[in-house]
C-alpha cells in the first residue's frame, strides 16, 4: 500500500468535500497557482472549476469576510491563507464577526466558515513570514481551532472542520507536509467529538504538543525511551474549546508535565495547558514543576544562524527533559 503524505492528505480532504458537498467552495490567494500552497490544492481548480475554487485579489479582509458571509447563507466555504501572518488583515471578520455571529443573534444564525491557515516559516523568511498565532485564536470563545499533526488528521480534521456548524480555524504546518502514513477510509466525525489524543503511552512524563511540535515530541520521546524514560505523548488536535480531561488523567499517572508549543510563550497555548492542569490536580501531584518549550521572546529571525536557535527541535527537547526532570 502506498503511503500518503500530509500534503496529499489535505488535498484528498478537499477532494472529498468538493465531491460530496456542493455547498463547499474555496477562496484565497494562490489557488490557481501550482505552487502557492505546496501541492495541497493542486488542480482543484481544474477538477472543480474556477467558480468553486476562487483565486482572489490581495484582499485578506474582504475575502475572509466573504467566506463568513457565504457561510451564513448555507454554504460551506473555506478561505485559505497561505501564511498565517497575512491574516492580521482579516481579524475583524474572524473575531468580531464569525466567532460571535451565533451568539449575538441568540442562535438564530451561524457562520460555519472554515479558515485554513498555514504556518509557513524557516528558510530565512523572517519575522513577517513565520508566525504561528494559534494561541490567539484559542483565546476567542466561539471559534474552534484545530491543528492536525498526523497525516490522518490532516485529512480528517479538515473534513470535520468544514462540516462543523461552527466557524473553525484549521491550521496546518508546512514542516509536516512530507510526513507519510497509510490512510484509513474516510469516516465523517463531528468536530465536537474530537479531543486531544494520546499518540504514545508512557508513565513517567506527559508531553503535550500540537501540529509540528507533536511530531517533535513523538520523535524525542522515542529516543528518550531508549534512555529508559517512558514518556506519554499527547497531540492537542483541538485547541479551542480545549478539553483537558485526557491530559489531566495522564498527568495524574505520570506526575510530570511538559508542553511543547510552536508559538510564543506568553499567554500561549503552553500556559493554557499547564494552567488547566495545575488548577485541577491536588497540589502534591507533580514531582517536578510543569515545563514548557516555546519560541524565545523575539520575532522570528531572518538569519540562518538564529533560526537554528529559535526553533525547538528533537535534540533540544531531549536535552531539556534530561536537564529539567528527575526520573
Amino acid at each position: 500500500m502506498i503511503k500518503t503524505t500530509y500534503s496529499d492528505a489535505i488535498l484528498s480532504g478537499f477532494d472529498y468535500l468538493l465531491k460530496n458537498y456542493p455547498e463547499v467552495f474555496i477562496l484565497g490567494q494562490g489557488l490557481w497557482s501550482p505552487w502557492y500552497v505546496g501541492n495541497t490544492m493542486k488542480n482543484l481548480d481544474k477538477k472543480y472549476g474556477k467558480d468553486r475554487i476562487i483565486d482572489t485579489p490581495v484582499s485578506e479582509s474582504a475575502c475572509t469576510g466573504a467566506a463568513v458571509g457565504a457561510s451564513i447563507c448555507g454554504m460551506k466555504p473555506i478561505v485559505v491563507h497561505p501564511r498565517m501572518d497575512f491574516m492580521l488583515y482579516a481579524m475583524d471578520s474572524i473575531v468580531n464577526q464569525a466567532a460571535k455571529w451565533s451568539y449575538m443573534f441568540g442562535g438564530q444564525l451561524n457562520a460555519p466558515v472554515t479558515i485554513r491557515s498555514i504556518i509557513n516559516r524557516g528558510g530565512s523568511q523572517g519575522a513577517q513570514h513565520s508566525q504561528a498565532l494559534h494561541s490567539w485564536f484559542a483565546h476567542i470563545p466561539g471559534i474552534r481551532v484545530v491543528m492536525p499533526s498526523t497525516v490522518q488528521d490532516a485529512r480528517d480534521l479538515l473534513i470535520s472542520s468544514v462540516l462543523s456548524p461552527d466557524p473553525v480555524i484549521y491550521i496546518d504546518d508546512r514542516w509536516l507536509y512530507e510526513q507519510t502514513a497509510n490512510l484509513k477510509p474516510i469516516k465523517e466525525t463531528p468536530l465536537n467529538a474530537l479531543t486531544p489524543k494520546c499518540l504514545k503511552k508512557g508513565d513517567q512524563i506527559t508531553i503535550v504538543g500540537s501540529g509540528y511540535s507533536t511530531l517533535l515530541a513523538l520523535n524525542a520521546s522515542k529516543k528518550l525511551n531508549s534512555d529508559g524514560v517512558r514518556a506519554e505523548v499527547f497531540d492537542l488536535r483541538v485547541l479551542n474549546p480545549f478539553n483537558s480531561k485526557s491530559i489531566l488523567d495522564s498527568v495524574l499517572k505520570t506526575k510530570r508535565l511538559l508542553v511543547i508549543d510552536s508559538g510564543w510563550k506568553s499567554c500561549g497555548m503552553a500556559s493554557e495547558v499547564i494552567t488547566s492542569i495545575v488548577e485541577n490536580v491536588p497540589t502534591n501531584t507533580l514531582i517536578d514543576p510543569p515545563r514548557r518549550i516555546t519560541l524565545p521572546d523575539c520575532p522570528a529571525p531572518s538569519s540562518e544562524v538564529h533560526e537554528k536557535d529559535y526553533y525547538p527541535n528533537e535534540e533540544k527537547i531531549i536535552k531539556f527533559i534530561n536537564d529539567s526532570y528527575y526520573f
Binding site: T56, G65, V68, G69, G106, P141, R144, D166
Partner: protein, 313 residues
C-alpha cells in the same frame, strides 16, 4: 413596512431610551426612512440583507414584526434575536435579514459573501449591504467593491450618506461629500439619489435589482440624507457633531421624506389630509399595542449565558 410606522417606532424607542426603559445604545434613523422602504419593496425573503448599527429601518423594511423589534430593543426573549442582541444586533432569518452589528463596515464583506453564495447557488437572489458614509472610509469597503466587480457578485451596496460619521461631518473626513466616485473607480454602476425621496429610491433600486437578478453584477446606490437625532440615543442637539448646526437640521426637516410623500399624494388627489390623520392614529395604536406587549415579555433566562456560543454543544 411604511415610513410612518418606522418613524413612529423609532420615536417610541427614543422616548423609551430617554425614560431609561431601554438599556443598550440605540442609533435612530429618523429622517432616513425612505431608503430602506424604497429598497425593500424590491426584495424577497430569499435575498440576503445585512445592516449595521443604525438598522431599525432596514429590518422593518422586510419584516413588519414591530413587536419583535420592540422586544429586542428592550432585551426581551421574544425579540428578533431572542433578547441576546438589543438594538445593535438584529436579525430575521426567514425574511432574509441576516444580521446587523455595530462594527462599522463589519457586515460589508459578509454581504459580499452572501452575494457570492447566491451566485454559486444560481438562485437569482441578491445581497444588500446597507452602510453609511463613514463606513466607506474603512479599507474593507474598497476591497469588497473590487472583489464584487471582479467576481460579478450580485450585491447592491446601499450607502446612506447622512453626511456624518458620529460627530464628524463628511468635509472633515473626505475630500468630497459624495462617495459614488468609489463605485466608479471600481467600474461599478452607481447612481446618486435623493435619500429623502422614496419614489426615486424605489425606481433606482428596482432597476438595479432587476438587472442583478438576471445577470449577477454589483451596483451601488448613494442616497443623500440626514439624521434628525444625534449619533446615538434620543437627543437632537448633543452628540451630533463638530459641524452640525440647528439651521441645517431645520432645513433638512423640511425635506422630511414622509411629509413629502404624503403632500405629493395629497397634491395629486390620491390621498387626503383626513386619511392621513386616520392613518396616523392607526399607526400610533399599532405602536402602542406592540410596545405594551413587548414590555410584558420576559428577559432571557439567566441560565442561557453560555448557550449558542457554538452550534455543536
Amino acid at each position: 413596512m411604511s415610513m410612518s410606522v418606522i418613524r413612529a417606532a423609532e420615536i417610541k424607542i427614543a422616548e423609551a431610551k430617554k425614560n431609561r426603559l431601554v438599556k443598550g445604545p440605540v442609533h435612530l434613523g429618523v429622517g432616513q426612512e425612505a431608503i430602506a422602504v424604497g429598497v425593500s419593496k424590491n426584495l424577497r425573503n430569499t435575498d440576503r440583507i445585512f445592516g449595521a448599527h443604525r438598522s431599525h429601518s432596514h429590518i422593518l423594511g422586510v419584516d413588519n414584526d414591530l413587536h419583535k423589534l420592540f422586544a429586542e430593543v428592550l432585551g426581551k426573549n421574544t425579540g428578533f434575536s431572542g433578547g441576546m442582541g438589543g438594538s445593535m444586533h438584529l436579525a430575521s432569518k426567514s425574511k432574509g435579514f441576516l444580521g446587523s452589528v455595530p462594527i462599522v463596515t463589519g457586515t460589508v464583506p459578509l454581504a459580499l459573501g452572501a452575494g457570492l453564495a447566491s451566485k454559486l447557488q444560481k438562485s437569482g437572489d441578491i445581497a444588500i449591504s446597507y452602510l453609511g458614509d463613514g463606513a466607506t472610509e474603512e479599507g474593507v469597503f474598497h476591497e469588497s467593491l473590487n472583489f464584487a466587480k471582479v467576481s460579478n457578485i450580485p450585491i447592491l451596496f446601499v450607502v446612506e450618506n447622512n453626511l456624518f460619521s458620529s460627530h464628524m461631518h463628511m468635509s472633515l473626513r473626505q475630500p468630497l461629500n459624495t462617495i459614488n466616485r468609489f463605485a466608479k473607480a471600481h467600474e461599478i454602476e452607481t447612481k446618486l439619489v435623493d435619500g429623502n425621496d422614496v419614489a426615486e429610491i424605489y425606481r433606482t433600486s428596482s432597476e438595479f435589482i432587476r438587472k442583478m437578478r438576471l445577470q449577477p453584477e454589483p451596483y451601488l446606490i448613494e442616497a443623500i440624507t440626514y439624521r434628525w437625532f444625534g449619533h446615538v440615543d434620543w437627543r437632537e442637539d448633543i452628540d451630533v457633531g463638530v459641524a452640525r448646526s440647528k439651521k441645517d437640521l431645520l432645513n433638512w426637516k423640511k425635506r422630511d421624506p414622509i411629509k413629502r410623500l404624503s403632500n405629493a399624494m395629497i397634491d395629486k388627489k390620491i390621498w387626503t389630509i383626513e386619511k392621513q390623520h386616520t392613518l396616523d392614529l392607526k399607526v400610533n395604536e399599532l405602536i402602542d399595542v406592540n410596545w405594551e406587549k413587548a414590555l410584558k415579555d420576559d428577559f432571557p433566562d439567566r441560565k442561557s449565558l453560555l448557550d449558542n456560543v457554538y452550534k455543536y454543544d
